[in-house]
Amino acid sequence: MTASSPPAAAWPRFLPSGDAALSVELGDTIDRRISAKVVRLHRHLRGGPLPGVIETLPTFRSLLVRFDPRETAPAALCDALTAIIGAMSDAPLPSRRWAIPVCYDPAFGLDIDEVASLAGMSPAQAVECQASAIYYVYMIGFLPGYAYLGDTPEPLRLPRRKNPRTRVPPGSLAIATAFASVYPFESPGGWHIIGRTPVSFFDAAADEPALLAPGDEIRFEPIAMDTYEALHNAGGTRPRLLGQEAAI
């Protein structure tokens, strides 16, 4: 917690987001423990305990609560949420851990050589460094299924590219600052592309359309080009679920 942070009693903090939503802030840093509180509150509210609440959207340190203002009022919601948050357990959340195969070949990892050189490493060392991290899913946002994963090992933390690409291929694994993500769709992007995965991160027809959920953990597993091709040609793949653990 930084010097400017209010004391713990300052949380939760409620910010109005129009007449039909409010933002519940549970801290002011990007931190796995604060994120766990957000995820826990999100999961609790999904059970529908508060009449008038339509949906909730978990982000790094806050939860956006969308409601029908004809059915409930912000003051009543704040009271109810304060009570729920006060009674919430601090125990670790059950969390899934995934292994995601990634091919770091420069044909896919367009920036891997540059990233390695900026980090003062060989490309093989950069891959090893990135694949050694256990990433945590802070939130899904920006695009359907786009996961904000942290935290990238220190040596590989770089600012965004000066010139964003207008077209990043789907499946690209990209890094910038402390984060990593996989582009679920072709889209413009300003992060450094270091590899590509045959795993599909978003499938609207699946029971759970987004592969990942906030609170999950991920390890990237380097694979060779021919393995990538085989998995890709098989029509993409679901990754290996390493386990359901109390990991946070």
């Binding site: 129009g18 909730t56 340190r61 806050s62 946002g141 695009l143 359907p144 679920p184 609207a204 027809a205």
Partner: protein
């Protein structure tokens, strides 16, 4: 042959939209849906549909169609829009009434205003919903007709092979405010702006940029001054949230917005004014006005009442000539009765 609507000329960015897909923002899917859900509802009611049926959202340049298969009731709703039959047929039908179209008939939707218009068909389009909705989210290639805007040659099947409603219908055309002050509630990050920034935002006019789309309305005007950093920890974007990036030019986040973002959001448009905002064309000027939660809810209830009254005004369509004759006849009868009683 299936009854279907074929696209002869696609117009500009015409997509299938309904009332959106709530419940998936946590996985990065914006609710989407009609930019002007008020007008969408009117088009649906005119064709006997539930309010949230999928219809075609059109702006600026209207598409042309040919009906295949069987007859169908369809209706256009929206300011400055009408249906025009194409040769060899002749005829012109105003918005806010339904029309029985015959197979083989070609027609175009003409659009004079810049706000969205909606073309609904009785029974709706036979398109599979994605995540519970027919709305097109083009940025992710999801929903609607093949996840994209319509192109020439597309054929959209209808659910009904033949009309079920006994006849054509009409409703009292709505009168919408023309030069509006858009009502907002300050926050979530109004404290990230200087007093000057706030007074610019609430005091100065803004113009809707031509770069606006279904994701956001980009505004042009005097720069809104930040008090500090404009790069925050990303949080959730509510519908109508007004983010102010480093340029100081606000962007109102609309139906297809990214679900999260890190620019400070100075204010949020109230629910009741989102359809109004969706109707404003590029180039339109607007001002913002801060209101309270109570005022916002009152405005929402007033809009609900306005919609209920428009819905209640739906009646079988009568030709204006016949209508006049009927009115005269009724008047004669009434005065006749009055005479008899005196």
């Amino acid at each position: 042959m299936t009854t279907a609507l074929a696209i002869i000329a696609p117009g500009l960015g015409v997509t299938v939209q309904d009332l959106g897909r709530p419940g998936f923002q946590a996985i990065g899917v914006p609710p989407g849906g009609a930019l002007d859900p008020v007008t969408l509802r009117l088009a649906n009611w005119l064709t006997g549909n539930a309010e949230g049926e999928g219809a075609l959202e059109m702006r600026f340049s209207g598409p042309s169609f040919e009906l295949h298969g069987g007859e169908a009731h369809l209706a256009v709703a929206g300011e400055g829009a009408w249906i025009e039959l194409m040769p060899p047929y002749e005829g012109r039908y105003p918005a806010y009434r339904s029309v029985m179209m015959k197979p083989g008939q070609r027609f175009r939707v003409a659009i004079k205003g810049g706000g969205p218009c909606y073309l609904a068909v009785e029974g709706g389009f036979a398109i599979p919903p994605v995540l519970g909705s027919l709305s097109t989210l083009a940025v992710a290639g999801l929903g609607g007709f093949q996840g994209r805007a319509l192109v020439m040659g597309d054929v959209l099947p209808l659910r009904l092979a033949a009309p079920e409603l006994p006849g054509e219908q009409a409703l009292r055309p709505p009168k919408f405010a023309s030069a509006p002050a858009i009502r907002v509630m300050l926050g979530p990050q109004d404290t990230h702006f200087t007093p000057e920034g706030l007074s610019t935002f609430l005091g100065e006019p803004f113009t809707i940029s031509h770069l606006s789309d279904r994701m956001g309305l980009r505004l042009e005007g005097k720069a809104v001054e930040h008090a500090g950093s404009f790069d925050l920890i990303s949080d959730g974007n509510a519908h109508g949230a007004i983010q102010v990036p480093g340029s100081g030019q606000p962007i109102v986040l609309m139906a297809d917005r990214g679900t999260t973002g890190g620019y400070p959001k100075i204010a949020t448009v109230i629910s009741a004014d989102l359809p109004l905002l969706g109707r404003l064309p590029p180039g339109a000027a607007l001002r913002f006005k801060a209101v309270t939660q109570a005022e916002a809810v009152e405005a929402l209830r007033a809009q609900d009442a306005m919609l209920a009254s428009l819905k209640a005004s739906i009646a079988p369509y009568r030709d204006p000539g016949e209508e006049l004759a009927r009115a005269l006849l009724e008047e004669n009868i009434i005065s006749g009765v009055a005479d008899a009683q005196s």
